[in-house]
């Protein structure tokens, strides 16, 4: 009878269920199915799905590919507030770009064009990092040993920040990167 006593009916499973309760169970079930189907629907028709293209890699192998990309596509250098030179790299239209996450910077600065689709490779040289594109607000985990290839098409232009939003040690808060979209 009470929640702190054994059920008073010996065959409690056979007790009838009130109509309102059935109704709520049915609503909860249907709502659950709608939410389940929404994720699948978005995979088919939605325009914002995180890519599943990922590879196992090593920091060395990834850095080599990224450095090659930077060497071939750098358009200019910028001096950061900390006095360090950072290359600005123009990703070829519809091409592939590489972004390195490491203690404690995003390297290099990428330059994109609005409306073009890019394949951006993400990987970490050391700890976990968090790719948090602001103020767009796209957040992707960056894991060492994994190369994640994300297809993205900027729909707005301007200067965007990449905040690191996975704790990566004492300099975590200074890990701020940049993406330009023309």
């Amino acid at each position: 009878m009470s929640a702190i006593l054994p059920p008073s009916e010996r065959l409690w499973w056979k007790e009838p269920i009130a109509k309102t309760e059935w109704m709520w169970i049915a609503i909860a079930f249907v709502w659950g199915m709608i939410m389940f189907v929404m994720m699948i629907y978005w995979h088919i028709y939605g325009k914002q799905n995180l890519s599943n293209e990922a590879y196992k890699t090593t920091p060395e192998a990834y850095a080599a590919k990224a450095e090659k990309f930077i060497a071939e596509n750098t358009v200019r250098n910028e001096t950061g507030l900390d006095g360090n030179e950072i290359p600005v790299v123009k990703v070829p239209n519809g091409g592939e770009g590489y972004l390195i996450a490491r203690l404690w910077n995003w390297y290099p600065i990428l330059e994109l064009e609005k409306g073009q689709e890019y394949k951006i490779h993400l990987s970490s040289m050391d700890y976990n990092h968090g790719f948090s594109l602001q103020p767009v607000n796209i957040n992707i985990q960056v894991v060492p040993g994994y190369e994640h290839v994300v297809k993205m098409t900027p729909t707005s232009s301007g200067t965007f920040a990449i905040v690191c939003n996975e704790f990566c040690g004492i300099g975590h808060h200074s890990m701020l990167g940049r993406i330009y979209v023309k």
């Binding site: 010996r10 065959l11 409690w12 499973w13 990922a54 590879y55 196992k56 994994y146």
Partner: protein, 49 residues
Amino acid sequence: MADNDNDDVPFMQKLLDNHFLLVVIGVVSPTVLYTLWGIVDIMNTPLAK
């Protein structure tokens, strides 16, 4: 209560009263769906070219 008294107990009630069976299914279900399948996914990640 003699055993034959329980013949009329519905299957689901018997299941919910079988605590150790619940322990087993409660551990096996996430182990298979989450952990083992997850390991398979990670193992199947190809090497970068």
